[in-house]
Symmetry: C2
Amino acid sequence: MEEWNETVEKWQELMEKGHYVQLREELNEENPANVAEFLEELPADKQLFLFRLLSKDMAAEAFSFLDNDTQEMLVTSITDTEVRNIVDNMYLDDTIDFLEEAPANLVSKVLRNTDRETRALINRFLHYPENSAGSLMTVEFVHLSKTMTAKRAMEIIRKNGLDKETIYTCYVIDDKKHLVGVLPLRTLLFADEDKRVEELMEEDVISIATLDDQEEAANLFRKYSFIALPVVDGENRLVGIITVDDIVDVIDEETTEDMEKMAALLPSDEVYLKTPVTKLARNRIVWLCVLMISGTLSSAIISGYDAILSQAVQLAAFIPVLTGTGGNAGSQTSATIIRGMSLGDIRPRDILRVMGKEVQVGMICGVLLAALNFIKQTIFSPSTDIMVDLTVSVSMGFVVVVAKAMGCVLPIGAKVCKLDPAIMAGPLITTVVDAVALVIFFNVAQWLVL
Amino acid sequence: MEEWNETVEKWQELMEKGHYVQLREELNEENPANVAEFLEELPADKQLFLFRLLSKDMAAEAFSFLDNDTQEMLVTSITDTEVRNIVDNMYLDDTIDFLEEAPANLVSKVLRNTDRETRALINRFLHYPENSAGSLMTVEFVHLSKTMTAKRAMEIIRKNGLDKETIYTCYVIDDKKHLVGVLPLRTLLFADEDKRVEELMEEDVISIATLDDQEEAANLFRKYSFIALPVVDGENRLVGIITVDDIVDVIDEETTEDMEKMAALLPSDEVYLKTPVTKLARNRIVWLCVLMISGTLSSAIISGYDAILSQAVQLAAFIPVLTGTGGNAGSQTSATIIRGMSLGDIRPRDILRVMGKEVQVGMICGVLLAALNFIKQTIFSPSTDIMVDLTVSVSMGFVVVVAKAMGCVLPIGAKVCKLDPAIMAGPLITTVVDAVALVIFFNVAQWLVL
């Protein structure tokens, strides 16, 4: 990191002093991800100027690493020829990534600067639903046929491989483009030159369909440690591949989305520091309003029992700790289960096993917490009515068990109803548990205190 | 999935009918990850029996995909010769993965069945701290020297590459083992045979040190889309590589850990359905107790203001909705910031920018929620004292702003103090916000209602 900061300072100095030739040379030899990082930190006018200094190849490569805002600014500002150069030199999946987020005028600016073939491909891609395997794939892969020799296959890779996203896994197709085998470059490299592809290839190919969800693709990468995964259409024809670097992004995106939903946020793709305050506020106000309004239920429950409260106002002091403990116990369970479901460790049909476990866990935790609370109260707050202490402890035991049970029913139920478990369980769990906790509390109070 | 269920049923049938020869044949041709999955679902005695049916290669490969419990059961039950066969055929990093979790008697059983060289390597690895880049690396990589020709480099890869974890990225070292360059197989394949490695290689190698955190390694993979990353010691000598498949696991582990901590759980590596109830309860009770006891603060605050409560018992009904809204607003912010910090988007030095944004977001949300609450109350609960409604609305506005500010101070502060932001901010935020919300609420009430 130290070194990188020094480099950035040096470049900034070169820029200020107008030593553009030297700056250009240094940038063109740098890693494109670093050039992109440097560009992003500059003011807009300097970004454009510097971007134009870059060599054609570097410009295209660095472009694919830039964030969407900078990409859009650049495409808006540069000429058609420059756009053509970038698109020609970028991998197709990076172009698609950009286009998916870009406003319509930029999309057409890019499309009119690509050749007919690429344009057709881009259009096909843009029609795959967001978050589908199809929207993630690239068409730049090497394909071989069964009857080739290993030698011929190597020649093809050498000849066509230069602009492919990966050459390390090659796919074997028949004359109708059906996917029939997979052949790692590694196997080819260690093979006898005269062996035929069909003798070397693995026939049992694991693939994914264009319309499958990207999360499913991520799970295949997790399970099989792939570096690429073939994507097929409804007739098992090979249409593209997904590479592992894109899957790392998918995994990050999906988890961020889960975390956001669990924290009562509307999911957002944008980088925090670049998101305007109004947009941040919009992403947050929705759930805050929904939860505040549904929290009215708790107020109604408390008001309904105000006869008890007036008689034993001491009870009010324990409302937050009781609803808080219930909320915590419920969130623990729902977070465990939501995460277990996204990683594929827990499936809806495990619901009974999960419920059984959680209720047992709830009973252990409930009894311990109730006891601990009672001891704490009698030692440290001897002035509180002992029946109030007992009410709080008994309610706490019940609340924890119920909260744990809800913590597994809500996310699994959501999944069964094809709703997103993270939304249905994350923010809602505390509200639901609050209401239930209050009802339990006041009923126990009626029984013990009055 | 359909297909896979059918395969499993077929295998189970073969096993019941005693058609072991056919079963053995089918298993040996299957993907090792699938064989491992099948094995895991069997009872322990059948696992051992079936595992012994597998060919040597398949046994070793499937072993590396098994979960820790099954691995330990198998190593406990099999003979020394069988252990040797597995370890010889596994990649070193998979062996390490297993040994890191295994009890001491199994570690020694494995160590006495490896040759001296491997044993020395394993011992070195086991001494790297958990979660360090060193503990993650493998030593099975291809290294080249600068002066070789491309042709000679290819010969070396062909000769030595067979048991290397990846041959797709090769590293160039000098005679003192210093890392001096990186050469993708791709470049080598397209190069002129007579070119020398130093002309082809990329000199600007990005590497990581053995003691660096694995999260840093993950961030490098995210940024540069690598399929492998070299690991160097304090003198820049190449000691190993990390491959992308291990990074996918690291990313999953780290996010699961963050989510667990944010949901007030002690982190656990174990698969949910295989974790015993007592262990689950232990992972949960710790934070539940801590939070319940710290929740006493809220009770104390409420008791301290019981004079106000007795005079206006209506106020009690709004405690849950107020603390709830505060907790939600705070968790939104802390979750955003914890996630932003793990992805490297937010750094501690951004604290002022983040604070500024959050306070503004808090003001927008606070004003909107306060207004909404006031309107809702006057329309739907006209019987409530208007000064009580006003108290709740005004407090809510303040609480949201304060909760947002705390939601960013807590995680960033934790990071600055080298504590884990997810622990410090996740479970604590609601407790802290509860207390602050109550103080605000009663002070506003004193001012408006009394």
